[in-house]
Structures are given as structure tokens and as C-alpha cells.
Subunit: 339 residues, 2 copies
DNA sequence: TTGTACGCGTTATCAC
DNA sequence: GTGATAACGCGTACAA
């Protein structure tokens, strides 16, 4: 591997001169055009590439952002978010490094992270206690931690999507189509997490006094196809709002099985706007979570915090909300008159 | 940041002793239990974390694998592949760093990569000329490059899925169900790339002499919903094999629109086995590409190459194929008798 | 322009 | 056997 030493030898100049030229300090340090050229030529000819490790060690700063998440597989969320992060960091010279997060094994994760001295961390789906521990430990080393989900804590940086608003928008949309009996499809686990999507649903039905609209009780614990089909066939709801696109697709399947027409007899909405949902039968009305922009916004925020010396995030909670928006497709229509 | 110096000072021992203990060389260098313990305690107490940068610089080896790809967004492929890579590398102490690949800007990419001295690179969807250039340049620095797609080149490392076999399996499956008029849905661009999936289709129909089975000509250039619906409605095929799951979902939509029953009147197969396809109406028969295992296999192979001093990949082509397999769901059935 | 110290950990080599 | 000393790797910063 070619180093500045090789270039110094080759040109007969000193390492410092070479370093100055090659790092563009030619203005402040005043080096003659001639030697400047000479050095650059030599660097090209010998195939020099600055050793980023050495650079980082000596400056004490790294150009690495860590993405801490449990599992990237099985969904297109994370890919799209990472896209946004990379897109935003490209210009600033930052790179993204993937850190595996294993629930409950915080100390191991911390050693990994701190050892590599990243400039900052973006975390996805890290749970409350782990987040708190990681946040505080990283704080000691001046490494800011940004979460993509809200966490009940009085400090830190959060860039989150306005999930509650999104579900409320779905309810409002259905309300305006005349729906009064709206069911919400979610499971008990996310209920217990006081998920924003559940809140959004409750906000919506409270606002319009939809006393016949409820979180579908049968689906809280078991959501197999049989149960789904039974619920759909019962026609207890003229519309079902789902907490994910996948759940909405399940409802579509159940409706097909039960012979219930969507959207004629039942309206359905999803959440996320995955690539597949416009290819559903019928194309799904859903809440668009702008994953790529989300990642970009997170990266921008993190960079601003990295460059902000005040470190206010250590004592106050900084929250940035990303707007979501309802995409109307063909799975929602005016309410079917129910008895 | 706590360094071995701090620990040396704190314990009154020398840096080398501390280093030896903290890097587990306590056997070969023989250091007493007592001092060993003392040092470890101090490290814990002071909150020491080995500076991975310094380690890497001094040893000249990094624990970084680069993932070079154009765009991670819009699909769940890459996330799942990355999952596999991370899963496999976790045990070996390697980390994955994301490198953005911009078609045609190879020199910029190379500078980025070489500057950071990764131990190896896994590339996804890098085109032929760029791959060749990157491969040869990285070779000079001893950085192996593994591609997840096959490339017409006489050297390098390739871990690819057996796409051709997968499509052939789909054709065979349909053949055994009595289908003789099978259409293949792909576009001209992938045809011109001599894609393995097209080959697989041709292999299948050749083997069984299916003279009425063809690559659907109308869909090569325009595959909007109107054209799709027309093709499906024409009933020219009793089955349509698609080169992607998304295309298969489009066929399902078109069939629904045209009033053609799937699988009663038309069988459909996809390719990939995305999470959404079992939620289709009907659940889609498709070829499973095991993304996570794919990533794992790639990582394993890359690690073996990194540790193999012979560097045989520089002069010969190493190809590892990952088996795919047909998943039968409900979008395929015995052939409907066509006139 | 250049010499020199520095950052952090590793690895001989050397003294007790 | 135990531990210390010193050089090394690569690039930066600052005084000379």
C-alpha cells in the first residue's frame, strides 16, 4: 500500500509537505505550484489512497454513522430507510456501518459500538430500557444516539413518523365516506405498547363520536385466516382500519374468502404503503410512511447534532415528526348500508 | 476516552503488559494471575474500550466488509441479504459498511473504498464494465470482490441464486399440471441481458417441446394494466410464468379485471417469494430465493477467500450457486381446457 | 518547507 | 518466568 512516505521519498520532499498538498492545505500553508503539481502527479502515478484509518485516528473523529437494529430482513422498511440515510450522508462524507442489536445484550452491543468510535448512531426498534442504557453510556463518550421511534424518556433525539395522525386521517377519510362502524385491526401486544397507531384510531373515533367503532376484540389475540374470515363475514363493520399493510392484505384475503366485496361491502385501509399494496386486489388505500425521507431527515438531524457543540440533546428531548399522508386507492368507498 | 496508557498509569504497570492482558495474550506471554486480574479490574472500573481504529491501523487488517450497491430502497431483497451477511459476520467479528455505487462513477467509488481499507467487498447489481474495473483495481490492494450476480468474466468470486433452474422448475410444475400454452412475462431489457430467468424458461419449454409456449411479445415493451388485461383476457395462455413477484401480482390484478379466474382459468407463478405474496388473492405459487441464506453464503465465501493466502480468485472464476425452490400455493392448478 | 511530537495499540527485544 | 523499553504504522499540527 502506497503511503505519504513513499511519495516523499519518490519526490525527495518531506512528509509534511506531501501531507499538506494531498489534504488540500495548499492555501493556508503556502506551497509552490511546482511542488504541489509534482506531488500530485507522483501520488497519481504510484496509486496513492489516503489511509482513512490513520486519518481518523489522528484527528480523533470518524466518518462513520452506525445503524443499530435487530434485523433488517423480512421487510422493505429498513432498506428504504437506509437508502435515505446513505443518500443524505453521501455528500457529507459519512458512511453507514451496520450494528446488530440483540435485545437484552446491551453490554455486548455497547462494546462493539464504542470500540469503533462512530460519530453517531441511529437506532431502529430498540426497546425502552435498552435504549436508555445505550443512550447514557454513549453519552459518556460523546456519541449521540438518535431513535426512529419515540421512547418514553426525557432526553435524546427522535425523528419519528406521525403514525397517530396517519391512522386518524384514515378514520376521517372513512367517516367522510359515511362509515360509522369502523373496526381497528391490531394485536394485543401493540395495544399494550400504547402504540401511536392505536391512539390515532381512538382519537379519530372519539372526535366523531363513533360509538359503534372499536378495536376489533376477536383479532387482538388470534388473527388466523379462520378468525379473520369470521369477523369479515359477520359484517359487524363497514370498514376496517389496519395497523399495517400486511394486516390489510389479510383482510382482503379474508373478504375474498367470505365473499364480501371490497370496497362495495367493506372498506379497508393499511399502513406503510409498501411496494406491493398498489398491486393488491383491489389496490389498497393506505397511509404512506415516507421511508426514504425519514432516513434522510434522521441523518440530517444527526449530523446537525454532531456538529452542535452545545450537546443540548443530553438534557432535553428533541423530537422531529415526519408527516405521513393518506393515499386513496380502490379499497375504500362510500359505506354500504348495514342493517 | 480511556486508553491503555491510563490503565498502565492507574495500575503502575507498563503499556505492553496491559496490552498483552487485554488482548488475551496472557498464555503465550505468561503474565501472573494477579497482575492479569488487576489490569482487568482496572479496565472495567475505568470503562476501557479498545480503540478499534488503532488496532486496525497497527495490524493492517480491518474487520470491515463493504456492501456495494446502487440503492437499497424500494424492495425487501437487500434488507434480507444484508441480514444474512450480518448474521454470518457477527460471529467472526466483522462489520458491514455500506458503500453507495453510482453507475459509471467507478473512480469515485474506488477512492472511497480503498481509502477505508475494507477486508472485502460484496457487490449487488454492479454492471459488467464497472465490475471489471473495480475488481482489477481492488485486486491490486488485495481486497477481494464478490458479486451476487453472475458476470461474464473469467475471474472473481460469485455467489448467485440458481434463477434459471427456478424458472425451469416453474415450467415443469405447470407442465405436470397439463399446461402446454405457457407465457413468460418479462421485459425486453432483461431479455437483452440474457437473464438466467429467460434462459430457464427457454430450457423448460425446449425440454418438453412446448411449441405453443413463448415469451409474451406484447409485454416486452409495454406492460401497463391495459395491455396486461388484454393479454390475460385473450386466453392465449393457460399459464403465465413471471420473472418477478411484482409482475405476477400485476397479472393477478389484470385477471381480476378481465374476469379470468386464477387458478381456475389461468395459472400464475412469480419469482422471489416476497413477504407479500402469500397474502395475495390467491396466494401466489412462486420460486423462493432464499435471500438471507444467500447473504450468509456470500459472507462465508468471502471470509474463506480473505483467509486463503493462495488468492486463486485472481485468476480463476469461483462460482457458488444457491438452490432456489418452488413454493406451491394457490395460483396454479390443472390446465383449463382451452379450445 | 521541514523537523518533530503526537495519537493508540502491537510486537519484538531486552533486563531482572 | 515477568515485566519494561522502544520502534512501528500513517497522517496531522505546529513551531522552527
Amino acid at each position: 500500500m502506497v503511503t505519504i512516505n513513499d511519495i516523499a521519498q519518490n519526490t525527495g520532499l518531506s512528509r509534511s509537505t506531501v501531507s499538506a498538498v494531498l489534504s488540500g492545505k495548499t492555501e493556508s500553508i503556502r506551497i509552490s505550484q511546482t511542488t504541489s503539481e509534482l506531488i500530485r502527479k507522483a501520488a497519481d502515478r504510484l496509486g496513492y489512497h489516503r489511509n482513512s484509518l490513520a486519518y481518523q485516528m489522528v484527528t480523533g473523529t470518524t466518518n462513520v454513522i452506525g445503524f443499530l437494529s435487530e434485523d433488517l430482513g423480512g421487510t422493505e422498511f429498513t432498506g428504504a430507510i437506509l437508502s435515505g440515510i446513505m443518500c443524505e450522508s453521501a455528500g457529507s462524507g459519512y458512511y453507514t456501518k451496520l450494528f446488530p442489536y440483540t435485545r437484552g445484550h446491551v453490554e455486548k452491543n455497547l462494546t462493539d459500538i464504542i470500540g469503533q468510535r462512530p460519530a453517531g448512531i441511529i437506532s431502529f426498534a430498540v426497546n425502552q430500557p435498552d435504549f436508555e442504557r445505550i443512550f447514557d453510556q454513549l453519552a459518556k463518550f460523546g456519541i449521540p444516539l438518535l431513535s426512529l421511534q419515540n421512547i418514553e424518556i426525557n432526553r435524546g433525539i427522535f425523528v419519528i413518523t406521525a403514525d397517530a395522525d396517519g391512522v386518524t386521517a384514515a378514520v376521517e377519510h372513512l367517516y367522510s365516506l359515511g362509515h360509522r362502524k369502523i373496526g381497528f385491526f391490531t394485536n394485543r401486544k401493540s395495544m399494550e405498547l400504547k402504540s401511536p397507531r392505536n391512539e390515532g384510531f381512538l382519537n379519530g373515533i372519539t372526535k366523531h363520536n363513533l360509538s359503534e367503532s372499536v378495536v376489533i376484540p376477536e383479532l387482538l389475540d388470534t388473527a388466523d385466516m379462520e378468525t379473520l374470515t369470521r369477523v369479515v363475514a359477520s359484517k359487524s363493520y363497514t370498514a376496517i382500519v389496519c395497523d399495517t399493510d400486511y394486516n390489510a392484505m389479510r383482510i382482503l384475503q379474508a373478504a375474498a374468502k367470505a365473499g364480501v366485496k371490497v370496497p362495495g361491502e367493506l372498506s379497508v385501509t393499511g399502513f406503510a404503503n409498501l411496494a406491493a399494496v398498489e398491486l393488491c386486489i383491489p389496490p389498497l388505500t393506505t397511509v404512506l410512511q415516507p421511508f426514504t425521507q425519514w432516513g434522510m431527515a434522521a441523518m440530517r438531524k444527526l449530523l446537525s447534532v454532531i456538529n452542535d457543540k452545545s450537546k443540548s440533546y443530553l438534557t432535553e428531548k428533541i423530537v422531529e415528526k415526519i408527516e405521513v399522508k393518506l393515499i386513496e386507492r380502490e379499497s375504500t368507498a362510500p359505506a354500504y348500508p348495514v342493517n
